[in-house]
């Protein structure tokens, strides 16, 4: 679900942003000179955004794989899941997703963007979902710890953590993409 949710949100946003070209600001609305080194063409702008979103979708897949592999390997060895290992997988996946996002802003080089501004705006938009993901993993981990010694005792927390993580993950994807896009558009003349 996490993988699907992440990919789906990225894909939907890609469709929306690709279909609707960013509207150039009217000259009267431009308060300061554009920080762009050169005026990007429409193709450059579209290319930058499409590349970023594609890279984001790919990073989702990588993060989901990182979340999946440790519990899978552990299950194959032990024949049963270990909730703590599952927690570790989720932590790894969430960290990867949050850590990869700023790197993906490199895609905006295609659009001659100030990458620092793209990253800054992206983080402003996505920091709360990232925090939500961290809380979610903590909740899941606390549940896993309880579950380890008392079957059923930690499952409520694990379910709550997993649900919060799924929501946070999808929201992080959406807000990071919107934030990066905003950060880029703010630079356009």
């Amino acid at each position: 679900m996490r993988t699907l949710g992440g990919l789906l949100s990225s894909f939907l946003l890609a469709c929306v942003l690709s279909a609707a070209n960013p509207t150039p600001l009217a000259p009267s609305e431009v308060a300061e000179p554009s920080p762009l080194l050169a005026q990007p063409t429409r193709a450059q702008r579209a290319g930058a955004q499409a590349t970023f979103i594609a890279a984001f979708a790919a990073s989702n897949a990588v993060a989901a794989a990182l979340a999946y592999v440790p519990p899978r390997v552990q299950f194959d060895r032990a024949g049963r899941p270990d909730p703590l290992v599952t927690t570790g997988g989720l932590l790894l996946g969430a960290l990867a997703q949050v850590a990869l996002a700023p790197l993906l802003a490199e895609a905006y080089r295609i659009g001659d963007a100030d990458l620092a501004q793209v990253r800054r705006t992206m983080w402003q938009w996505s920091r709360w979902p990232a925090l939500g993901a961290a809380v979610a993993v903590l909740l899941f981990g606390a549940g896993a710890l309880l579950e380890r010694n008392d079957f059923g005792r930690g499952q409520g927390l694990m379910i709550g953590g997993a649900a919060l993580l799924a929501v946070s993950w999808v929201t992080f994807d959406v807000t990071a993409i919107i934030g990066a896009n905003r950060g880029y558009r703010e630079q356009l003349p």
Partner: protein
């Protein structure tokens, strides 16, 4: 009984094949689904095959290691299915058997052991599994099929996955795709089966009042065609029954599906429940194995709670009734055996309340994906669980009153073993 030269040669060949073991199984084209036996009794067995030829058919059977071949003529039904209830056998004896037609085409050789005399108290060894979905590896079945020491093998249900089937031809197709596999043929030929059905022989999570009657008729027709079991003389479609092994063990085979009515809160019929209670109370056997396709254990935890509607817990009146009966009557030796969960498990039926002293063992899956729960049953109610495909061995020793339960994977490795003083 007359013994012709041909019978003797068949018997000798078959006996030789038996000694060679199941690896030599090579069913011919007119016996495409191999052979099987079921519901062993001290003097009887049900022999099974499907014959696609047209010549007169017979079956030869002989005590293992002897040339004492007995031949019986067999009349398949209109669709070629043979289900022959053979009597006058020696108790507690290994037999070989093979079908042969007048055109000299012979089936694979099967093996079974008749049940001990009703007063005998030998150690009884029984295998069990459940949940074998076509498309998964059936190595576990092949591994179990290599054994020649089992008194019987329990199939706890979900033997096939026929969820999309509607007509009897559809259901037959599902049975055949499973039983054409050499792993299943090896298992069926190696020992007597004692089988019940669960949901996937018909449709996911069905009850009698949620399944189209025509679909039930088609599914049950195909089930009785493919499973060797002794039919009830009064009600031929009844699946619940008892199979006894001396005074060592009695297996209570439940039908937890076809008498289930969700609208009435009925998990099994009152008649079946009464039969079970009376049978448990009156059984002279040291061990009473209750073969319930779906667990009776309390799984009142968030990961398992959403599915409680499809097991005993969803029918609390009857669940409490049978568990209280066992507790109050102090019936010793009861062991619940279930499947369905795609995980193997051992533990107490309940943490507290009725069933707190009862033990339930979950067998299998025999060929399925493991349960997807991120947390498996564990302490304090459960002592062990695993999602690895497996079969379970029950070694029941009446002299000690101990039941040794061992879960074995496809490589033959022991996953877990536990001995219960019941």
């Amino acid at each position: 009984m007359s013994l012709s030269r041909r019978d003797l040669s068949l018997g000798l060949a078959a006996a030789a094949l038996t000694r060679c073991g199941p690896a030599t199984l090579s069913p011919t084209g007119v016996f495409p689904l191999g052979v099987a036996s079921g519901d062993p009794a001290p003097q009887g067995i049900v022999l099974w095959t499907r014959y696609t030829g047209a010549a007169p058919l017979s079956v030869a059977l002989w005590p293992a290691g002897t040339n004492d071949v007995r031949t019986l003529s067999v009349t398949p039904d209109a669709n070629g299915f043979v289900s022959l209830d053979v009597g006058a056998l020696q108790s507690a004896t290994d037999y070989g058997f093979a079908f042969r037609d007048a055109a000299e085409q012979q089936s694979a050789v099967g093996r079974f052991r008749t049940a001990p005399d009703l007063q005998a108290r030998p150690v009884v060894t029984i295998g069990a599994t459940c949940c074998t979905k076509y498309g998964n590896a059936f190595d576990v079945l092949a591994r179990a099929g290599q054994r020649s020491d089992l008194d019987a093998f329990l199939l706890l249900g979900d033997t096939i996955y026929a969820d999309g089937a509607h007509t009897v031809e559809d259901f037959r197709g599902k049975w055949q795709e499973a039983f054409l596999l050499p792993e299943y043929q090896a298992l069926k030929a190696s020992t007597a089966l004692v089988a019940t059905w669960d949901d996937h022989e018909f449709n996911n999570d069905w009850a009698r009042d949620t399944l189209d009657p025509g679909r039930f008729t088609a599914g049950s027709t195909a089930w009785f065609e493919h499973i060797p079991m002794r039919r009830n003389p009064d009600l031929s479609t009844r699946v619940w029954r008892r199979v006894r092994f001396g005074t060592t063990a009695e297996v209570f085979v439940l039908d937890c599906r076809s008498e289930r009515y969700r609208s009435k809160g009925q998990y099994i019929s009152p008649a079946q429940l009464d039969w079970l209670k009376r049978g448990l109370s009156s059984s002279p056997c040291t061990f009473k194995l209750i073969m319930s396709s779906v667990p009776i254990s309390q799984f009142a935890v968030p990961f398992f709670e959403p599915f409680s509607y499809d097991r005993w817990e969803g029918f609390p009146v009857q669940r409490t009734d049978i568990l209280t009966h066992i507790d109050d009557a102090g019936i010793p030796g009861v062991l619940w055996v279930a499947g369905d969960f795609h995980l193997a498990c051992a533990g107490r039926v309940s943490l507290d309340g009725p069933g707190r002293n009862a033990v339930e063992v979950l067998v299998g899956p025999g060929g399925q994906v493991p349960n997807a729960s991120p947390s498996y049953p564990s302490a304090p109610q459960f002592e062990w669980s695993s999602g690895i495909n497996n079969y379970t061995e029950f070694s029941l020793d009446p002299s000690t009153g101990r039941a040794k339960v061992t879960w074995i994977d496809a490589s033959g490795a022991v996953l877990y073993t536990q001995t219960y003083a019941l």
